[in-house]
Symmetry: C2
Subunit: 323 residues, 2 copies
């Protein structure tokens, strides 16, 4: 049995690596700013350096392999990135083979949201179930699906795009994908900020207008959060509307999967108290499965570490299934 795995999390801001024991303990960590502006080769060099650093000093412990979480669509069998809007120039680059030849050990690529879902399954609230869906609420909305203890993959290496499920077919906003009323345009941090601007445009909140002015005229979901906490009714309604749309999306997932656990993660979770009541109310009304089972909808608990843990678990799990 493997003694430890190494996880790499390639984020837009940070590039991180960690050696994690088979019991889920972090043995060593590495973090640098992702040198995106310096080109792909520099980023790959940073990944190689990170892995080498956390691999040092492990004595005679056995390395199961390297797991790498990447923000894009992965072609698993070919070991390359099929599509990554935030990593220009990486498409069709054979990242797995490149890393394997430089590091001399097996490498597994994974979509970052899938890796985060696997991390929450391994060490988060998902440790007592075999099936869960993780939904991340950030600038966009993504997700990962764990079925039977393993990441659910499609033929391109990741399940579809939960953020583009329609939750408001007739009166929803236009999404960059071309559809109206996607979950992402109704419930992401971007959606909250847009609704915050709508509130100001309708002259419905002096407080929010003031907060925006103080923030150099830039609206964010955090400002709407701040106004809502201060008692601003319209700011509270923004989060209620976001919660209703999210509840619709969650009800859809619950009715399709009937899994025991759904986890929410990402920056918007700080506003849980503001959106959760509306979300649960909508789930309760929409989903017969939710009403009739013990389905749990909860906060994920590993935060930004989830993807790093999940990436490290990939080779450990792979070895377990081979043994």
């Amino acid at each position: 049995m493997a003694d430890f795995g190494i996880g790499v999390d390639l984020g837009g801001t940070n590039l991180r690596a960690a050696a994690v024991s088979a019991e889920g303990r972090i043995l060593d960590q590495f973090q640098i700013f992702t040198p995106r502006g310096k080109g792909r080769d520099k980023v790959v060099a940073g990944m190689v350096e990170g892995v080498r650093k956390v691999r040092e000093g492990r004595g005679d412990a056995t390395l199961a392999g390297i797991g790498v979480g990447v923000p894009g669509l992965i072609e698993l069998e070919k070991g390359l990135i099929h599509k990554a809007p935030n990593l220009p120039g990486w498409e069709n680059f054979p990242l797995r083979d490149e890393l394997e030849s430089k590091l001399g050990c097996p490498v597994l690529l994974e979509n970052d949201a899938n890796a985060a879902a696997l991390g929450e399954y391994w060490l988060g609230p998902g440790h007592d179930v075999n099936d869960l869906v993780l939904v991340t609420l950030g600038t966009g909305i993504g997700g990962g699906i764990i079925s039977g203890g393993k990441i659910l993959h499609d033929y391109l290496g990741m399940a579809g795009d939960i953020g583009h499920v329609t939750v408001e077919p007739n009166s929803g906003m236009l999404c960059g994908c071309g559809n109206y009323g996607c979950l992402e345009v109704q419930s992401s941090a971007t959606a909250v900020a847009r609704m915050g601007n709508d509130v100001i445009h309708a002259r419905r909140s002096d407080l929010l207008a003031e907060l925006k002015a103080k923030n150099a005229g830039r609206m964010t979901s955090q400002l709407v959060h701040e106004a809502a906490k201060a008692g601003d009714h319209e700011a509270q309604r923004v989060y209620m509307r976001m919660g209703v749309a999210l509840g619709r999306g969650m009800a859809t997932l619950i009715d399709i999967f009937n899994f025991p656990l759904y986890l929410l993660a990402g920056g918007l979770l700080a506003a849980w108290d503001l959106f959760a009541p509306a979300m649960f109310d909508e789930i309760e009304h929409r989903s017969v499965t939710f009403r009739e089972t013990d389905t749990r909808v909860e906060n994920a608990t590993l935060g930004t570490q989830a993807g790093l843990y999940g990436a490290a678990f990939l080779p450990i799990q792979h070895k377990l299934h081979q043994a």
Copy 2:
């Protein structure tokens, strides 16, 4: 390797059994009307008789086991039916153990829609993919999900209830489940018949009113189909509306799963030409995944045999994975 499996399909009308070779050839078949009115024990006796009949005369061929498709929620580990609205008195009855003790060989229970999905994966259009979703359009709407060549199970033994995904959140019909705008109340045969009645109520089609009167005052999806084929514009619009709602549901599945294949089955498929253009138009508009991949949405091909084939494949597949 197993030489053959026996599938049993417990339907509301027919009880069928078949011996099927590992290559998918039917070796022998058995069919009776399901003796539902005579109670559970008579139905079980019919299943046992069917298995014995098709097992006879197989020479020294090896039986992999018995697979049984049942219209209800299965608790796989316990081998019993958790919930089956159409089989009163069967809930919590240990059907698997009962059949195993009477037949002296391993029995696997499965939800009937899941079994049909597995059948289409084995011998239908799904034979060249590893992942597919089957959606059945009948009186209600159900479905089964195949991921990595196996039925996707939740902790109660089946994935959730695709029929209760919301496709018309604000202006949809009230469903028996308590939600408004479920796929099932917008796109099932029942929905088509209801919309047919609406057409008559609004005095928008003399032809449909006439057809209904001739059918002893009973509206069906077939009558709407007949009127539509005869050129009745409102009857055609019923199927267009059904197709739009179905397209919304399919787009949701496509965005969530990103699988290569989605199959439609059930009685409404006869009206494919009437609803498919509107369905594809809606999928095209809603699903970025559909537009950017080679996703196929097609007719299933095994008809009412799908569940029987899938049930027979259950023990064959089980043995393959053990070997």
